[in-house]
Amino acid sequence: MKALHEQSLAELALTLRDKEISAVELAKHFLARGAAHEGLGAYLAVNEEVTLAQAAEADARLAKGDRATLLGVPVAHKDIFVTKDFASTAGSKMLENYRSPFDATVVSRLAAAGMVTLGKLNCDEFAMGSSNENSAYKPVKNPWDTSRIPGGSSGGSAVAVAARLAPAATGTDTGGSIRQPASFCGVTGIKPTYGRASRYGMIAFASSLDQAGPMARSAEDCALMLWAMCGPDPDRDSTSLELLPEDFSKTLGASIECLRIGMPKEFFGEGLAPDVRSAIDGALKEYVKLGAKIVEVSLPRTELAIPVYYIIAPAEASSNLSRFDGVKFGHRAKQYGDLLDMYKKTRAEGFGDEVKRRIMIGTYVLSHGYYDAYYLQAQKIRRMIADDFQNAFKQCDVIAGPVAPTVAWKLGEHGNDPLADYLADIFTLPGSLAGLPGMSIPCGFGAGGMPVGLQLLGNYFAEGKLLNAAHRFQQATDFHLRRPEGF
């Protein structure tokens, strides 16, 4: 039998159904791997008792002949999703030991599908960051080179999957937080169309951008997870779409003969490191071999996506994070004078530097006299960026390019320069602003033997086509099967 941590989600489900192993034994296997590699910093919370109780419940369902596709298969959740049975911190001291009275919709959907929760995964504080160094608890190390960052903000999720500590994980993507860490850790991740997954119980960062998605070792696994995670949630998320869950697995194997792949020329300029460029070029050649056609397209406002995103996201964050005031939940300062002083000291103590910076930027651009010049202007350019994509999709079916300009950098390398992190988000931000589905799939290796991800962007609701293109690539290549030495 193939090692349990090398099996796909479908293989694990079959192993369980064939009674080769129980869900409890499977959960124990992954908990042991998590404990053995604790030094990576991937997990923020585990609770063996809860995990094994969920696994025992799955075993009981299996014994009754329940054939739910993901029944008994373990998963770990980014610590941005609230959970009843594990602390939910959003990587922040503000929510240290916070216990949610309910589960996020994504968490309860996966639980209903029979998935067993292994624990909560480290992330940048309130999902703000590109390196996971903004976690208030501990940094996460990249298993391909532990002196490097895993990417962010879903860094714990990417590392858990890459180091085989979990067969799959949930992540969230606001400006690239699924795709970029997937790229840096050599795993597969998909951010669906904005509104396909419910945001209920996802601790809010920027509500018009936040989307949940799966991170796993293949497009095939992501298809299964995405199908289980998504669906309308009309009473609990005002922006969730009335789209019924689609069986994305059904179309995975479809031919991609004559698929038109758009290559945005702005993604291949000076800023792109040569090692990443060469891996991406190799991937595009592979697609040509598979029968796809490469066409050049233009996304002329790619560079503008940086200031537009870093106005809109902090503006929404400053509003969302105003709820952390030391009254109803979370941290409260020990010593304070009046109510105002209590608010100010509580927030000064509870939030980290990057979160404070974004709250400050957001508060400023929404303040009297600046709203039109910054926030409204950014929302207008956001529409122009979305229109640019619609123009590009007249000439192509999917868009392909790099996820990030470089491979994962060294821990501490960007030091005290938040702008360096912002600029590195350039290729993921345009798709986020437009609310389009996007993926990262492993497509090669660059400097220092670090993984490189190919970004695939589709039109609205075209997740099936993206997963199909990704799966065909993974049928022809083995980058997604490689694993870091020692894991």
Binding site: N97, R99, P101, T193, Y194, G195, S208, P234, D235, S238, T239, P307, V308, Y310, I311, S318, D325, G326, V327, K328, F329, G330, R332, D338, L339, L340, D341, M342, K344, R347, A348, F351, D353, K356, R357, I359, M360, I361, T363, Y364, S367, A373, Y374, L376, Q377, A378, K380, R382, R383, M384, A386, D387, Q390, N416, P418, L419, Y422, A434, G435, Y460
Partner: protein
Amino acid sequence: MALTPQDIARIAHLARLELQSHESERMLAQINGFFDIVERMRAVDTTGIEPLSHPVAAVQDIALRLREDVASEPDNREANQRSAPAVERGLFLVPKVIE
């Protein structure tokens, strides 16, 4: 346009954040550095462009979803207050606000 230390103090007050003086100085430099790249955005001609808030509204009408104004949640006070910093007899405690 560059922010001044007074601007930082005013914004921090609006954001209900107490900043130490070394934090304010660093924040001033970093935020001004950031606004250098924002200037490019301000120069874009957006005459006649509608702002986009729900991204899918770029391709289809998105109606604001409303629901009936009826209580749908059960009383869950105990669980909801479990993580509150200070609670007494089911009420959240705050410093005295009315003399």
